[in-house]
Symmetry: C2
DNA sequence: ACAGGTACCTTGTTTCGCATGGTAGCTGAG
DNA sequence: CTCAGCTACCATGCGAAACAAGGTACCTGT
Protein backbone atom coordinates (compact mmCIF):
# COMPACT_ATOMS: atom_id res chain seq x y z
CA UNK A 1 0.00 0.00 0.00
CA UNK A 2 1.18 3.51 -0.75
CA UNK A 3 -0.01 5.01 2.52
CA UNK A 4 2.49 2.90 4.45
CA UNK A 5 5.29 5.27 3.51
CA UNK A 6 3.39 8.14 5.04
CA UNK A 7 2.98 6.30 8.32
CA UNK A 8 6.65 5.44 8.40
CA UNK A 9 7.41 9.14 8.56
CA UNK A 10 4.62 9.96 10.97
CA UNK A 11 5.83 7.33 13.42
CA UNK A 12 9.13 9.18 13.76
CA UNK A 13 9.50 10.41 17.27
CA UNK A 14 6.12 9.15 18.40
CA UNK A 15 6.77 5.41 18.28
CA UNK A 16 9.28 5.74 21.08
CA UNK A 17 6.67 7.23 23.39
CA UNK A 18 3.92 4.88 22.29
CA UNK A 19 6.13 2.03 23.47
CA UNK A 20 6.74 3.88 26.72
CA UNK A 21 3.00 4.28 27.11
CA UNK A 22 2.43 0.56 26.65
CA UNK A 23 4.99 -0.10 29.38
CA UNK A 24 3.24 2.02 32.01
CA UNK A 25 2.17 -0.22 34.88
CA UNK A 26 2.68 -3.31 32.78
CA UNK A 27 5.70 -5.42 31.92
CA UNK A 28 6.15 -6.58 28.34
CA UNK A 29 8.82 -8.16 26.19
CA UNK A 30 9.97 -7.05 22.76
CA UNK A 31 8.34 -9.66 20.60
CA UNK A 32 5.07 -9.05 22.40
CA UNK A 33 5.29 -5.30 21.75
CA UNK A 34 5.71 -5.91 18.02
CA UNK A 35 2.50 -7.93 17.95
CA UNK A 36 0.66 -5.45 20.16
CA UNK A 37 1.63 -2.48 17.97
CA UNK A 38 0.77 -4.48 14.85
CA UNK A 39 -2.87 -4.43 15.90
CA UNK A 40 -2.98 -0.65 16.11
CA UNK A 41 -3.78 1.34 12.94
CA UNK A 42 -0.67 3.03 11.55
CA UNK A 43 1.65 1.50 14.13
CA UNK A 44 2.65 -1.70 12.32
CA UNK A 45 6.34 -2.23 12.85
CA UNK A 46 9.02 -4.92 12.98
CA UNK A 47 11.62 -6.29 15.35
CA UNK A 48 14.30 -4.37 13.48
CA UNK A 49 12.65 -1.19 14.70
CA UNK A 50 11.64 -2.22 18.20
CA UNK A 51 14.86 -3.71 19.53
CA UNK A 52 17.13 -0.76 18.76
CA UNK A 53 14.42 1.50 20.16
CA UNK A 54 14.20 -0.47 23.40
CA UNK A 55 17.99 -0.48 23.68
CA UNK A 56 17.95 3.30 23.39
CA UNK A 57 15.27 3.66 26.06
CA UNK A 58 17.31 1.44 28.33
CA UNK A 59 20.46 3.46 27.78
CA UNK A 60 18.58 6.60 28.67
CA UNK A 61 17.15 5.11 31.85
CA UNK A 62 13.54 5.24 30.67
CA UNK A 63 13.01 1.53 31.15
CA UNK A 64 14.44 -1.30 33.25
CA UNK A 65 14.69 -4.89 32.18
CA UNK A 66 14.77 -8.38 33.63
CA UNK A 67 15.22 -11.78 32.05
CA UNK A 68 12.61 -14.39 32.74
CA UNK A 69 11.99 -17.92 31.56
CA UNK A 70 9.07 -18.69 29.30
CA UNK A 71 6.92 -21.79 29.79
CA UNK A 72 7.25 -22.44 26.09
CA UNK A 73 10.13 -21.06 24.07
CA UNK A 74 13.30 -19.10 24.69
CA UNK A 75 13.71 -16.78 27.67
CA UNK A 76 12.32 -13.27 27.42
CA UNK A 77 13.66 -9.89 28.37
CA UNK A 78 10.88 -8.00 30.09
CA UNK A 79 10.75 -4.19 30.07
CA UNK A 80 9.06 -1.87 32.53
CA UNK A 81 8.96 1.90 32.69
CA UNK A 82 10.94 3.77 35.32
CA UNK A 83 9.68 6.91 37.06
CA UNK A 84 11.86 8.87 34.65
CA UNK A 85 10.13 7.13 31.76
CA UNK A 86 6.74 8.09 33.16
CA UNK A 87 7.81 11.71 33.42
CA UNK A 88 9.18 11.73 29.87
CA UNK A 89 5.90 10.31 28.66
CA UNK A 90 3.93 13.03 30.43
CA UNK A 91 6.17 15.72 28.92
CA UNK A 92 5.81 14.25 25.46
CA UNK A 93 2.05 14.05 25.79
CA UNK A 94 1.89 17.80 26.37
CA UNK A 95 4.14 18.46 23.35
CA UNK A 96 2.14 16.07 21.22
CA UNK A 97 -1.09 17.89 22.00
CA UNK A 98 0.40 21.23 21.00
CA UNK A 99 1.73 19.78 17.79
CA UNK A 100 -1.48 17.95 16.93
CA UNK A 101 -3.48 21.12 17.41
CA UNK A 102 -1.18 23.04 15.08
CA UNK A 103 -1.33 20.43 12.35
CA UNK A 104 -5.11 20.12 12.60
CA UNK A 105 -5.38 23.87 12.23
CA UNK A 106 -3.19 24.06 9.14
CA UNK A 107 -4.82 21.12 7.42
CA UNK A 108 -8.28 22.52 8.02
CA UNK A 109 -7.24 25.81 6.43
CA UNK A 110 -5.90 23.96 3.41
CA UNK A 111 -8.67 21.49 2.80
CA UNK A 112 -11.94 23.26 3.35
CA UNK A 113 -10.67 26.79 3.61
CA UNK A 114 -9.48 28.09 0.26
CA UNK A 115 -10.21 31.59 1.42
CA UNK A 116 -9.75 34.91 -0.36
CA UNK B 1 14.70 24.53 24.70
CA UNK B 2 14.67 20.78 25.10
CA UNK B 3 11.25 20.29 23.59
CA UNK B 4 12.52 21.54 20.26
CA UNK B 5 14.17 18.21 19.56
CA UNK B 6 10.85 16.47 20.01
CA UNK B 7 9.17 18.73 17.48
CA UNK B 8 11.95 18.13 14.99
CA UNK B 9 10.99 14.48 14.95
CA UNK B 10 7.26 15.13 14.96
CA UNK B 11 7.55 17.40 11.93
CA UNK B 12 8.87 14.53 9.84
CA UNK B 13 6.44 13.78 7.09
CA UNK B 14 3.91 16.38 8.19
CA UNK B 15 5.83 19.54 7.36
CA UNK B 16 5.65 18.72 3.68
CA UNK B 17 1.86 18.62 3.78
CA UNK B 18 1.54 21.65 6.01
CA UNK B 19 3.35 23.60 3.31
CA UNK B 20 1.04 22.11 0.71
CA UNK B 21 -1.92 23.17 2.83
CA UNK B 22 -0.64 26.76 3.02
CA UNK B 23 -0.41 26.78 -0.78
CA UNK B 24 -4.04 25.83 -1.38
CA UNK B 25 -5.79 28.64 -3.18
CA UNK B 26 -2.98 31.03 -2.35
CA UNK B 27 0.39 31.74 -3.92
CA UNK B 28 3.39 32.16 -1.67
CA UNK B 29 7.15 32.37 -1.95
CA UNK B 30 9.71 30.47 0.09
CA UNK B 31 10.92 33.18 2.40
CA UNK B 32 7.33 34.05 3.21
CA UNK B 33 6.52 30.44 4.10
CA UNK B 34 9.39 30.36 6.58
CA UNK B 35 7.98 33.39 8.38
CA UNK B 36 4.42 32.06 8.21
CA UNK B 37 5.40 28.69 9.69
CA UNK B 38 7.48 30.42 12.32
CA UNK B 39 4.32 31.82 13.85
CA UNK B 40 2.76 28.41 14.30
CA UNK B 41 3.50 26.46 17.48
CA UNK B 42 5.89 23.57 16.81
CA UNK B 43 6.42 24.50 13.18
CA UNK B 44 9.37 26.87 13.48
CA UNK B 45 11.75 26.10 10.64
CA UNK B 46 14.44 27.62 8.44
CA UNK B 47 15.23 28.22 4.80
CA UNK B 48 17.53 25.22 4.81
CA UNK B 49 14.46 23.10 5.39
CA UNK B 50 11.94 24.87 3.20
CA UNK B 51 13.83 25.22 -0.06
CA UNK B 52 14.82 21.58 -0.47
CA UNK B 53 11.27 20.64 0.50
CA UNK B 54 9.78 22.96 -2.13
CA UNK B 55 12.19 21.61 -4.72
CA UNK B 56 10.98 18.11 -3.95
CA UNK B 57 7.33 19.10 -4.24
CA UNK B 58 8.08 20.71 -7.57
CA UNK B 59 9.87 17.64 -8.86
CA UNK B 60 6.87 15.52 -7.89
CA UNK B 61 4.42 17.83 -9.61
CA UNK B 62 2.64 18.89 -6.41
CA UNK B 63 3.34 22.56 -6.98
CA UNK B 64 3.99 24.90 -9.88
CA UNK B 65 6.13 28.00 -9.76
CA UNK B 66 6.54 31.36 -11.42
CA UNK B 67 9.10 34.12 -10.97
CA UNK B 68 7.85 37.58 -10.21
CA UNK B 69 9.49 40.89 -9.42
CA UNK B 70 9.24 42.35 -5.95
CA UNK B 71 8.64 46.05 -5.39
CA UNK B 72 11.46 46.03 -2.88
CA UNK B 73 14.17 43.41 -2.96
CA UNK B 74 15.20 40.51 -5.16
CA UNK B 75 12.69 38.68 -7.38
CA UNK B 76 10.62 35.92 -5.84
CA UNK B 77 9.68 32.47 -6.95
CA UNK B 78 6.00 31.97 -6.20
CA UNK B 79 4.58 28.52 -5.54
CA UNK B 80 1.00 27.34 -6.02
CA UNK B 81 -0.54 23.91 -5.53
CA UNK B 82 -1.53 21.81 -8.54
CA UNK B 83 -4.64 19.62 -8.61
CA UNK B 84 -2.34 16.69 -7.86
CA UNK B 85 -1.07 18.55 -4.82
CA UNK B 86 -4.60 19.12 -3.61
CA UNK B 87 -5.37 15.42 -3.97
CA UNK B 88 -2.21 14.42 -2.12
CA UNK B 89 -3.16 16.78 0.68
CA UNK B 90 -6.62 15.27 0.94
CA UNK B 91 -5.13 11.76 1.07
CA UNK B 92 -2.66 12.78 3.73
CA UNK B 93 -5.35 14.42 5.82
CA UNK B 94 -7.23 11.12 5.99
CA UNK B 95 -4.05 9.26 6.97
CA UNK B 96 -3.17 11.90 9.54
CA UNK B 97 -6.54 11.53 11.22
CA UNK B 98 -6.16 7.78 11.51
CA UNK B 99 -2.68 8.16 12.93
CA UNK B 100 -3.63 10.91 15.35
CA UNK B 101 -6.49 8.82 16.68
CA UNK B 102 -4.17 5.87 17.28
CA UNK B 103 -1.58 7.95 19.10
CA UNK B 104 -4.18 9.65 21.25
CA UNK B 105 -5.55 6.26 22.22
CA UNK B 106 -2.17 4.84 23.21
CA UNK B 107 -1.11 7.91 25.16
CA UNK B 108 -4.36 7.97 27.08
CA UNK B 109 -3.87 4.36 28.08
CA UNK B 110 -0.36 5.13 29.29
CA UNK B 111 -0.96 8.34 31.18
CA UNK B 112 -4.17 7.96 33.09
CA UNK B 113 -4.81 4.28 32.51
CA UNK B 114 -2.38 2.16 34.51
CA UNK B 115 -4.95 -0.60 34.50
CA UNK B 116 -4.77 -4.03 36.11
C1' DA C 1 15.79 -35.39 13.48
C1' DC C 2 14.11 -31.60 11.57
C1' DA C 3 10.49 -28.04 10.38
C1' DG C 4 8.44 -24.21 12.23
C1' DG C 5 7.37 -21.00 15.71
C1' DT C 6 9.27 -17.98 19.36
C1' DA C 7 12.53 -14.64 20.80
C1' DC C 8 16.60 -12.01 20.76
C1' DC C 9 19.85 -8.93 18.30
C1' DT C 10 23.10 -6.56 14.52
C1' DT C 11 24.29 -4.24 10.23
C1' DG C 12 23.57 -1.36 6.41
C1' DT C 13 20.34 1.73 3.90
C1' DT C 14 17.07 5.42 3.29
C1' DT C 15 14.77 9.53 4.37
C1' DC C 16 14.03 14.08 6.06
C1' DG C 17 14.90 18.09 8.68
C1' DC C 18 18.44 21.24 9.59
C1' DA C 19 23.04 23.62 10.16
C1' DT C 20 26.01 25.91 7.42
C1' DG C 21 27.42 28.66 4.00
C1' DG C 22 27.28 31.01 -0.39
C1' DT C 23 25.22 34.41 -4.08
C1' DA C 24 22.96 38.59 -5.22
C1' DG C 25 19.80 42.62 -5.31
C1' DC C 26 17.77 46.54 -2.89
C1' DT C 27 17.67 50.29 0.74
C1' DG C 28 19.00 53.60 4.07
C1' DA C 29 22.51 55.76 7.21
C1' DG C 30 26.58 58.22 7.57
C1' DC D 1 28.89 56.96 -2.54
C1' DT D 2 29.72 53.20 0.01
C1' DC D 3 28.79 49.73 2.79
C1' DA D 4 25.99 47.37 6.45
C1' DG D 5 21.95 44.94 6.73
C1' DC D 6 17.86 43.05 5.03
C1' DT D 7 15.49 40.22 1.62
C1' DA D 8 15.49 36.20 -1.16
C1' DC D 9 17.28 32.34 -3.44
C1' DC D 10 19.82 27.85 -3.35
C1' DA D 11 23.34 23.73 -2.48
C1' DT D 12 26.00 20.57 0.50
C1' DG D 13 26.80 17.53 4.16
C1' DC D 14 25.36 15.63 8.62
C1' DG D 15 22.58 13.07 12.15
C1' DA D 16 18.75 10.54 13.96
C1' DA D 17 15.13 7.29 13.43
C1' DA D 18 12.79 3.48 11.10
C1' DC D 19 13.34 -0.42 8.47
C1' DA D 20 14.96 -4.42 5.51
C1' DA D 21 17.62 -8.21 5.78
C1' DG D 22 19.96 -11.48 7.99
C1' DG D 23 21.86 -14.21 11.91
C1' DT D 24 21.59 -17.03 16.36
C1' DA D 25 19.37 -20.10 19.38
C1' DC D 26 15.78 -22.36 21.99
C1' DC D 27 11.54 -25.16 22.31
C1' DT D 28 7.68 -28.16 20.51
C1' DG D 29 5.33 -31.40 17.63
C1' DT D 30 5.48 -34.82 14.01
Amino acid sequence: MVAEKVFTQLRRGTLEYCVLALLQGEERYGFDLVKELGEIDGMVTTEGTIYPLLARLRREGMVETSWRESESGPPRRYYRSTAEGGQALADFTADWERFRTSVDGILRRGNEGRRK
